[in-house]
Amino acid sequence: MYRKQVRRRRAVLVLLVGASLVLLTSTFGGGGGPFLTFQHGVATALGPLEEGANRALKPARDLVNWFHETFQARGENDQLKAEVRSLAIRKAKYEQALGENRHFRNLLQLDGSSAVAAYKPVTARIIGRSPTVWYSTVTLDVGSGAGVQVNDPIVTGDGLVGRVSAVTRGTSEVTLITDHTSAVSAKVLPDGPEGVVEPEAGNPNVLLLDFIDRSAKIHQGQLVVTAGWSNGQISSAYPYGLRLGRITQANSGVGQTYQRVALRAFADLRGMDYVQVLTHGPKRPGDGQ
């Protein structure tokens, strides 16, 4: 009797491990066929439940986060005061530069519209989040029914958040710029070099700007925006000029071919509740990053 139980237990374990490995190998890297269809079906069916729970639990979530943020805010207060003083000086310089920019644009007869203006923004609510530091993904309450497509850029008022990586009829999954699979081509302003912004896996608070020429001079506080490159065959999923972050640490590693600097994202990736999906963007060659 006991032996039979042991055999049954082992058989169940082997069966489940086998099933997990089949699922893993068939859906890894975006493949999957019937499993993927089934997964999308489950996600669509559970979408409304997720949305309802998200709305119902918001007050409780806000209460817990309020305690956490109150502790954090005390420490940040002095740091922000110093930042405001330095920004006031910088603002005066930027206003002057803005005036000059308008003047030159008029001279060149450009329309002055930014790259984002070419998109049709769709406002979406975040209804789910990934629980691990390995996957920085969020689920939105809009899907292909609202015109959302894979690779559409996601922004907030503060800057770039990520891009759509999977879509069902009523929901979509967004891979945030802090996900270990994310890489965004970026440019240091005003006239700095271009590189690739990627996260440090397991630490969603830090972004790294990698593959910068060692000779390029980069300073703390410089602004980083999306580069929006295109080589005629493939192009970045993001348009030029979306705000990414500010450089916090600029020291080139000794003996390394490229320079790698740390930056802090503008968008509050943990605290955001609503985002904008930039849909129906201009046709770009390819669909890469």
Binding site: L23, L24, L46, V64, H68, G128, S130, V133, T139, E200
Partner: protein, 207 residues
């Protein structure tokens, strides 16, 4: 644990609630630099209450639901969760849980193991970006938060599944055997009190 259809339905609802709560509530919280993870806690508790087979099946199903809801690569969470569900069940089958603190501590250790296993799987699948040492801190904090979560989740899940638990049924039978005796004792006490009151009333009357 005796798993009838009703109990299976309850277990399925517990798992569904855990997954929905995880993605809509717990994933938004940031405590000590980590995110509390309720799903491995619930899977470990089910393993501790129901044994290895139930723990493994619950882990697989919870992992599949979690990966489906988040549209992530299927199988990663299932593999890690079924492992800890199975381990929790084997612990329950091998040792007697006598202390009230044993389940939360065991759940904490298993949550830590889950986080470590999940990280190992991710590293095996390949990570192109630099890996931070903050992962070690995340794994440890997840284990501690798992212990805290288990302090109130374990009694709750146990209460929901009480009709199926063999030790709870044994306790209920024992209480049922005691209850008539206590009731009889109470009735006798009341009758004695009434008789005494009547006797006092009779002797106090004027003759």
């Amino acid at each position: 644990m005796i798993v009838t259809r009703k109990i299976a339905l309850r277990i399925a609802l517990i798992l569904l609630a855990a997954v929905i709560l995880q993605v809509s509530f717990f994933s938004y919280l940031s405590l000590f630099g980590s995110i509390p993870d309720i799903v491995p806690v619930v899977v470990a508790i089910l393993g501790l209450l129901g044994g290895a087979v139930l723990g493994a099946v619950a882990g697989f199903v919870a992992g599949f639901l979690l990966d489906s809801v988040l549209l992530q690569t299927l199988g990663v969470s299932s593999l890690a969760l079924l492992a800890i569900g199975y381990m929790a069940g084997r612990y329950r089958e091998g040792y007697e849980i006598s202390s009230a603190l044993a389940p939360p501590l065991m759940v904490g250790i298993l949550t830590l193991l889950y986080a470590a296993l999940f990280s190992a799987l991710q590293l095996m699948l390949g990570v192109s970006t630099p890996v931070s040492l903050a992962i070690v801190r995340d794994v440890v904090v997840k284990g501690l938060l798992g212990t805290l979560l288990a302090l109130f989740t374990y009694p709750l899940v146990r209460r929901i599944l009480r009709p199926a638990l063999l030790d709870a049924a044994h306790g209920a039978r024992r209480r049922a055997r005691i209850r008539p005796a206590a009731a009889v004792r109470r009735r006798l006490r009341r009758r004695r009190a009434r008789t005494t009151a009547r006797a006092v009333g009779a002797s106090g009357r004027p003759g």
